[in-house]
Amino acid sequence: MAVTERSSQLTKQSNPIVSRLRAVVLSKEGILFLIMIAAMFILSLLTDKFLTTNNLLNQLRLVTEIGLMALPMTFIIITGGIDLSVGSIFGLSAIVMGFLWQDSGWPLELAIIMCIVVGTIAGFINGLFIVRVGVPPLIMTLATLALYRGMALGVSEARSARGFPDWFFDLGQRQFLGIPSQLWILLIAAIMVGIILARTPFGRGIYAMGNNELAARFSGIPVRLYKLVIYTFSGFMAGLAGYIFTSRISTTRADMGTGLELDVIAAVVLGGTSINGGSGSIVGTMIGLILIQLLKNGLLLGGVKGDATIVIIGAILILAILINNLVQRRTGGD
């Protein structure tokens, strides 16, 4: 969004509609979108199983959890922070839910709520230490990455919860209005969070903090409160994602979500959010998320072997970032 406007100054002499269009296309998000379309076109030539509504919707279903966690991660990375513990919070929340329902005999509805509450608390603890004690986010969440995972292992004692009632799978495995149920949640959350980031004082504060935290504080922006909010939100989303994931795969295991934080971060940074903070957008994150998943799926369907798939995805990610840097530099976008 910010980028779109920035490049629009450069072309302001020409026809306003043309220049606006040009600005949108040449923005980080625009370029990424074009790369995604190009990738989809090539993949659809490899196999006719790829470009079908069913397959695409199903792929989106698979990335809902990562997508939900990528929303707060976008905020966090824009402020120059990071949250490495989301995969562990995701696992811990789901395990607690399974344990409360199966071992402690709680009603499943209450266990689901506790799943989200546990995630929120875990995120709040991250935020509290980062804000109050001043632990760098990387260190704090690296520590809780291990801590929360350890707690998940301790609670579950290596047993898994299974045998959930049928209604529990409505969210993860069924459709609502012809679209996978959980996709609605991602869609609504992404739109809301995107608007909050782009249009509200809170969102503006996030960008200001990422560019110059001291100046933001000197301007009366409640920097510490905002940080606490985004890390807590990150935990909330990880808890929610843990619930949706359990509903999708029907069981909980203590190692679920291991390494998931890297997928989340990859979607955010591929989407154009600067790892140094200060710039980024939800639209970019969503495109980054979808691009990675479609590559994985398309290459698989196209018969590319597993190891080669990872290599190709890595190469394409680097390429996408290079192309974007080149274009942004040429147009003076940044």
Binding site: A208, N211, N212, L214, A215
Partner: protein, 518 residues
Amino acid sequence: MGATLELEGINKQFPGVKALDNVRFDMAAGEVHALLGENGAGKSTLIKIISGVYRPDGGTIRLDGETVLFNTPREAQQRGIATIYQELSLYPELTVAENIFMGHAPRRKVGPVDVLDWKAANTKAQEILTSLHIHTLDVRRKVGTLTVGNRQRVEIAKALSLNARILIMDEPTAALTEADVEQLFSIVRLLRERGVGIIYISHRLHEVFELADRVTVLRDGQYVGTKLVSETSENDLVSMMVGRTIDNLFPKLDTEIGKPVLEVRNLYRRPMTRGVSFQLRAGEIVGLAGLVGAGRSEVAQVIFGINPAESGEILIDGQPVTIKHPGQAMNHGIAYVPEDRGTQGLVRQMRIRENVSMSVLRAIRAGIFINRREERSLATGMIKQLNIRAYSAEQVVNKLSGGNQQKVVVGKWLASKPRILIMDEPTRGIDVGAKAEIHRLMSELAKEGLAVLMISSELPEILGMSDRILVMRGGQVVAEYSRAEATQERIAAAMMSETAGNGAPESETVMIDESETA
């Protein structure tokens, strides 16, 4: 060892701007030649050409009569041209001697291997410092632990270790205390006697008169003229710089002084705020003078809630208030224009519009959203009111000159419609024109009934603008003068000595790093 330098017909074009247009400059051996001009006049570009950072698009440079062209700063250094930039370029984690000999340390043989000889470096560094009459600086100390003044001395020693014959100093006094400035001047005079030529850039005209032999003025990338300092006056130079005559640099208007708006009583926040009490009335400009490290900015930041008070009272309109963070201070109508606009005042990567609205984001909402139209009109209004030179409110602040950046900070705080305005070094490092504009603005604001607290290290500014002057030392207010009784000598004495002023500080008072400032 002296060198002569002549530049003729120098041109330099950057995308969109002609930075230098047919500029000339010359200097003799052992001359102090001041370079003056508003920000954006081309001074920095010119010295970067002399020191080999930029290559000119046209024109000739002659060193000792021989035409030269430097491709890199290193080539210029090898010919004896050294530069001391505003932002000092030392390594804080290395010692004084290591910094001085960075890249050209003496070596010795250990068997077949050439190793750096730090013992010799220490001795040589000490010799250089002694030759500058600097006796108290330990060459084994880490540079990061030194005061700004001492770091600058290290920079100068570094230049001399490279046998510099021409030394370029870019605003060397901008961050120095008065005592450090004095010592810098004596070093400059010493170097001049030794035949080192010095190109001296400063916004402070009195320094030019105190130090320089000749002065060259640039304006908008063009050469305006060169004069012997002995044959010119401040008014002359100012009108050369701005192309117009400014009769009064400090247009202080007479105001009606009203009731006390802000009062602080026995405010504590250790180590730098130790029992500060004063009053600030509506329509009044109070100057807060003191050396760097006297605790002036710290008091301002206590009042503004950045580092809340440990004890003591803050009263607004006679009512005690709690201020724990800047948001609360802003709710009470306090605004703080901080000392360092780059790191504290602005988010330079963001636009003018976004910076100006930053203090009022909650006030210009439509529902939960920022009202974009109101935000834009606020920013364009400030651009007009403060005469900010920018092509639109959408311009990124980074691209503005220092003076215009400062106006954006001021605009941000005026947008919050404050009743109490604290300005910390409001005109540091900005050009004469912008400075006069900011002074006029402060004066007008006071006339409208604002209470202004102005922290400044420039005594003429303090004397010119203030209705009342407070002097701080060691975290306390040690003296207070009315406009009528204040003189430069009195204030300077109160700032520096232990005995002058009304309330002498207690024995526990510590100045930051006394050994350093001595």
